[in-house]
Amino acid sequence: MPPEKLVATREKEMRTWYDAEVFRFRMFERAFAAHLGRALRNAYLDDAKLETRTKTVDSFVDKALTAGPGGDFKYADPRAEVTDFVGARIVVPLSTDVAPVARLLGETYRIEEQSVLRPDQEEDVPGYQSLHVLLRLHDEDRADVEFRDLGDPVIEVQVRTILQHAWAGLQHDLMYKTERTPTSSVRRRLISLAGLLELADREFVAVRQAHGEGTPTGEVADPDHAVGQAVVREAVEAVFGEEDEAGDAWFAELAVVLGELGAASVDDARSRLGPWGDRAASVAQTVRVTRPWAGTAYLFDLLLRLALDEDYLTARLGPNPPAEARAAFAAERAELLQALEAR
């Protein structure tokens, strides 16, 4: 912890600064709530419940005084580094409803950062899981009268399901609002409960589909990959260095393929491309001569076929793929390699 005198000085400085600024953030929060609320309604995402809040002065000061690992303050300049002065939470019914909201955020705002898990969260351990997005308004929206003179603050948005929200609230109370440090047994039981709720979510998704309802976008719902498709799109677009206009269905489907290939994450899938990853743009150009419709999801799958060769087929069809499938796979691969060589 920094010396007492430094702490006292910083506390006074930060409190004075934020006392003067908090009103502007509250005004911004109200305008942002109205703006995002309209966007959700216009996209017919009526089941998404929006809450917003502005950080309180005490909460900001506490954060500004947080100690870092080296005994210094965690934030060198909290006024510039804190990202949740204005925060929003969008609670949706089920995991398949997260992706449409994520897409809307991407279409409506400038995304600065996006992650599915907290940095300290293991991907394969159930628990606090929600989509975290840091975003800002587009310049043209900032020029609107409702945002005029309110600055350009970053906004932290969380998107989570009803069940994730319930779990997060309950575990927070249990973990942080009691005097005692939770034992490893208590923590393990909480993780088990998170897994249970994840299974419940999948079952609700299946029931909803069986009942004849699609996802809000009318696209293919895949409980395993509904959240992942936005991440898959972003990663795949980065591989090809282009924005893809193809619908989410292609990325949802690619997420299924990645799952069948046993890829633990998009990064894992990307690493399996090996040197083919560097040839993505050239493969895209060659393929689009005869398949002008080929989007990045299709092309990424093609790169995996090139990179993994027969392993691709056995991963998806089992150790003994039908002879016809093997022959067609080999023929397509050879034809493509020839076309690439001819370029």
């Binding site: 293919v220 619908g247 489907e253 690619l254 005869t290 998806r316 069809l317 499938a325 067609a328």
Partner: protein, 151 residues
């Protein structure tokens, strides 16, 4: 051995589409009355490639979700169906639901090459589809030579 029957379809868009994809996409449930091959008529001629009909999906939803699901399939037939649907959707509006017919590709030995059959008349030889025996088609110089063998 009975002669093979060819269904010749009106093909102003279908002919270049076949050349590109090796497939034919039309409205759902379009029958071919037992024809084993498809021919293409446009621009006053029956074109010079007569592919074999390899697989017919008589009806499927014409949307991106189904195109994606099938085009990314590990099954080669499903994959070709998806690629054809994706290509059709890319070109513009398609009937919904849609029929996807996989054909032997240009260059495939199963695709027969014939001398294009000219249609000398001022009106289109077909605006939908007509049937003709393969041997008669292979021997014809103009559509007049098909007169007795055409349904």
């Amino acid at each position: 051995m009975p002669d093979e029957k060819v269904c010749v379809v009106a093909a102003s868009g279908a002919w270049p589409f076949y050349r590109l994809t090796g497939a034919y996409v039309s409205q759902a449930q379009r029958g071919f009355q037992g024809a084993s091959r498809l021919g293409f008529y446009s621009g006053g001629q029956i074109h010079g490639l007569v592919p074999r009909i390899e697989h017919v999906v008589a009806s499927m939803p014409a949307d991106a979700a189904h195109a994606a699901r099938t085009a990314l399939s590990a099954d080669p037939v499903e994959r070709r169906v998806g690629e054809a649907l994706a290509a059709a959707l890319h070109q513009g509006p398609v009937p919904h639901p849609v029929q996807v017919v996989l054909l032997s590709r240009p260059g495939d030995p199963a695709t027969l090459t014939i001398t294009p059959v000219a249609h000398p008349g001022g009106t289109a030889w077909t605006l939908f589809q007509r049937y003709v025996d393969l041997t008669r088609l292979q021997a014809a110089a103009t559509t007049d030579d098909l007169a007795n063998g055409v349904v």
